[in-house]
Symmetry: C2
Subunit: 602 residues, 2 copies
């Protein structure tokens, strides 16, 4: 395993070993595999591991896809087993629960941990040499094809879920594109529809380093005394920097930057970061094959589900599964913006999708780190729920009067988008009152706790900032778009209202009325900044509210915006009664609910 | 020059050539150079270029320091001359005006473009071999030492300015640390007090690639048929990615990512980014020496003026020059936060410093790019002004009544910090009314236009967000800290007020009074959100104002904060008269100016 290294940041390397895979199973497919880029492989061996038991109707199978340097050993099979790279996520009682599910993790085609790869004998070679650098160029699609054969072999026609991070996420997305009905759920973590140019550039450099290593020998180094370890180590060092966030590196290496641990290495060790990288680089060469690294990184670089939203929509158009997409704030290799590209295509297609950007300092590596798994794991657990039942919903008694009013406006069976949906109370109430299968309910939130809470109720929610508008949604996508008790927090009000009218056939907003008579009294009598009801924890100098609308202000704005008001419901919540529209609500109401729509598009 | 490449993003490579330096001058220093890390160089040759004429008292000399891959040819000497790497900044009538100044640009020690470096013959070698990898380890301090000898040689005892970007910035800062009286002005661009761990990691990998190149031959490759071009090219490719921002790379390479230009190269060219990098890598090997790259990158990596504010304050304590520090928003190799580390030390030492973070998509390369030079060049021009005269200051007539009131509160000769100083009107008025040399006037701003405007008046200004407090300043650093007509825009009000009281012996705030009677009337009568005077361009839904304080609100907060009010000046600006404090200013005044201080530290 190597000596313990206090600079080990990546759990991937903490647990990896070049020991044989004790639980590996193998199947060889005799039928030649035709490759996407041309050529074929006469036969393909697939190495895989499984956990749990496949149920009678083969309905509980989960496919786990590993990343570039991973393998089939995703998790322990027993407490005293070798650690697996996703031990925090997979196991008895864990989010991917091996007591309930039959979990399958295959080594990817082109890898060097059991499945057919460049290290295998080329059957067309006259002198039984390995493929080496002649291993045909493979794609993520080819990798998925082998996994499909494995599924057929195991009697699995539809996965309960396909789950993967990084390159594993590419596989999950490719599965859904190629076999749209192949899974109930697709979980894509720390991934992208294709690499951005910067990540592509790093990969190119890494491959160059390997291929120009003096011992690369055109990839035919297997029987040579030396391997292209230097090039491979350099490639791995580069990868390591890209997996880590700047903050994480500063915290680990700055304190003793001039105090490297001395290790036996050909690499420079003047700095502590240097000896760390040298150690990581060398460790990697003992367990990974350079040709495989080239093969798999090229597959990742060729992967391209689309660079525009339209193209991505074509890609996912026929998918029938629900999606969970997770990104990490400090991941600069697969940045959150690329996950949003995927989400924007899925929402525009009206697919079921939940998206969360997890706040973390751990960079791309976060998807493997216990602390971050503890944060996003519950989202996966929720997606894998056994039945459609959900935790007891908020009863009518716990909804505010504005929420109740909104509930009463919305006809049963409407599709609803709730902007700033909080913990999902209102959406859950709508669902449970108006249960009609197939009508889309979705929330938008930006606070991590609220996103998790809403998702945990089985309601799709996406992690977007309302001040950026609603780019994820297409015109007239929802019957109702709600902005409930959120207007005061919005910076770009007109833009958001226009977006609501674009995305929804109807819009409903609710807000505290800053012209409420008691607030006027307070202001006039005491000359103090008005405080909204419910604002009493805050003062003028620290209120999170950004806007202070009055009913008259809002009505005037709506008129200027050329909308038609469908309903206006006013309350004096403090006193506990309704205010009729002809009873000067601007003076007498503390809370307003206004439903409106736009007759003709601007 | 190489074929035109539409992917050329860096002007450095557009202009570079391996042609001999037509304007190079040389001087050899016979006295051995003792090196910081031990050992010495028996003799040192310095190659340099000059522009302009040294005046009689040698007071107009400017030292320009180049970056890792640069050289002495910073600018053209004539219109038909080879381009220089900083042509946008240096020349007749340009910010570094060769009609006024005597500009000197030396090739760094350890380089390969004329000055003594690893390619030179090692005088201790019995068979006249070059130093190669045996060239002693040098530091930025050693590089500066040679430049000092050059200054002595040219008869320059004090530079008008020392200017450098990236590694050149390291040199400028080192000069000031080692020779605190050596210059009037220090300009440090896109630089840092030391590399962060991520940048250090990339450098280590780059050096590893060079030193493990099969043709490196321990650095003794000069007379060999092959050079370590592959390793050097890989190092350069890596550097290229780090110089560019992600956005810039996306814009250039995404449209034709699968359509590489075919060039003759051993490097992979599957992608357009690949052929670009291959081209850049190869071009570099024709003009730069691998040993020099190792030598200079190591010098940069060893450079460390301090990782804490205290250490940085020790570093700059004795400096007598003024400083201009410039960073670029998308520079992730030398990120803005590291420039702020420098600035925080300088402000705490009460040094004259202006700091601007230039908004740009161009990444680290921005300091060389014409468009960005056009933005920051004026800041340099201002710093190099010939006399102390400045553009006509705003006369009293153009100051608002609140500014006039503030002016009258502040005794002549006070040091003043103006938070949210706008275009510097108030500070300029203070300076011109209360001219007493040596009393510090400084502004804080966050809008680029305002920063430039204030700096152009010869007033120091730093680019900081007030919502982060005032970390740049120490306790009781200023007689007065002003927050003029800015309170409404502040999110973290209490924190900022406390910071003002920490940093200033006295604080003065001015703000529009939201309890002004006409606003109350409007609110009460019409039930509409109150609009501050001057706010008439905005409505409730798009005002940039964040806070809506009344005089009563603010007085109460100040009481809670345990401050002593020194003066209160109230105005009805609209009507044009003062409101006495006993005439219910909360009702009758539309504008308030309050001066206060805290008796004892909390």
């Amino acid at each position: 395993m190597g000596e313990p290294n206090q600079h080990d940041l990546s759990s991937t390397d903490d647990v990896r070993t070049d020991a044989p895979l004790a639980h590996a199973k193998y199947v060889t497919f005799d039928e030649p595999l035709r490759l996407e880029r041309g050529g074929n492989l006469p036969e393909v061996r697939c190495c895989y591991e499984t956990w749990g038991t496949l149920d009678q109707d083969a309905s509980n199978a989960i496919l786990v896809c590993h990343a570039v340097s991973g393998d089939s050993h995703a998790a322990r099979h027993a407490p005293d087993d070798q650690p697996g790279w996703w031990d925090g996520l997979i196991g008895p009682g864990l989010p991917i629960d091996t007591d309930r599910f039959f979990v399958v993790c295959p080594n990817v085609l082109g890898g060097c941990r059991g499945s057919t790869g460049p290290g295998d004998t080329d059957p067309t070679s006259t002198d039984a040499k390995p493929y080496g650098a002649s291993f045909p160029r493979i794609t993520i699609g080819d990798i998925v094809e082998v996994q499909k054969r494995l599924a057929d072999h195991l009697g699995i026609t539809k996965w309960r879920a396909i789950v993967g991070g990084s390159l594993g996420g590419h596989q999950a997305l490719q599965w859904v594109n190629r076999y749209p009905d192949s899974t109930h759920t697709c979980v894509a973590i720390a991934t992208s529809p294709r690499l951005n140019s910067q990540s592509l550039g790093f990969d190119v450099i890494a491959r160059n380093a390997i291929q120009t290593d003096p011992h690369f020998a055109g990839g035919q180094y297997y029987d040579q005394p030396q391997r292209p370890d230097t090039g491979l180590a350099i490639a791995r060092m580069l990868g390591h920097i890209t997996y880590l966030s700047v903050e994480a590196m500063e915290a680990k290496f700055d304190p003793d930057r001039h105090d490297p641990r001395q290790i036996a290495s050909q690499f420079e060790q003047r700095f502590s970061i240097g000896s760390y990288l040298a150690h990581q680089g060398q460790k990697f060469t003992t367990r990974f094959d350079a040709n495989s690294y080239v093969t798999l990184s090229m597959a990742m670089d060729l992967f391209d589900l689309g660079g525009t939203r339209l193209k991505l929509m074509e890609t996912f158009d026929e998918a029938t599964c629900d999606f969970l997409v997770v990104s990490f704030s400090s991941d600069w290799l697969f940045p959150p913006a690329q996950s949003r590209d995927i989400v924007n295509a899925l929402t525009a297609l009206d697919k079921r999708v939940t998206y969360a950007e997890i706040t973390t300092n751990a960079g791309h590596d976060a998807f493997l780190i216990a602390k971050d798994i503890a944060t996003y794991g519950p989202l996966i657990r929720e997606r894998l729920r056994e039945t459609e039942t959900h935790p007891a919903v908020a009863t009518q008694n716990t909804l505010g009067v504005d929420e109740e009013s909104i509930l009463n406006i919305i006809p049963a069976g409407s599709s609803v988008l709730d902007l700033g949906c909080g913990n999902g109370d209102l959406l859950a109430a709508i669902r449970d009152r108006h249960v009609t299968p197939g009508h889309r309910l979705m929330g938008v939130e930006v606070a991590q706790g609220n996103i998790l809470a809403t998702a945990m109720r089985g309601i799709d929610v996406i992690d977007y900032d309302l001040n950026d508008g609603l780019p994820a949604f297409i015109d007239n996508q929802f019957d109702y778009v709600i902005l409930n008790a959120t207007l005061q927090a919005v910076q770009n009000v007109v833009e958001l209202l226009n977006e609501m009218l674009r995305v929804g056939r109807h819009a409903i907003i609710s807000f505290p009325n800053f012209a409420y008579r008691k607030l006027r009294d307070h202001y006039v009598t005491h000359g103090r900044s008005p405080k909204a009801p419910g604002e009493f924890d805050f003062d003028w100098y620290n209120t999170p509210n950004r806007r202070f609308p009055t009913i008259a202000d809002v009505r005037e704005l709506l008129e200027q915006m050329n909308v038609v008001v469908d309903q206006e419901i006013y309350w004096d919540v403090g006193e506990g009664f309704r205010i009729e529209p002809d009873n000067d609500p601007n003076l007498n109401a503390d809370t307003a609910v206004i439903a409106f729509h736009r007759e003709c598009q601007p």
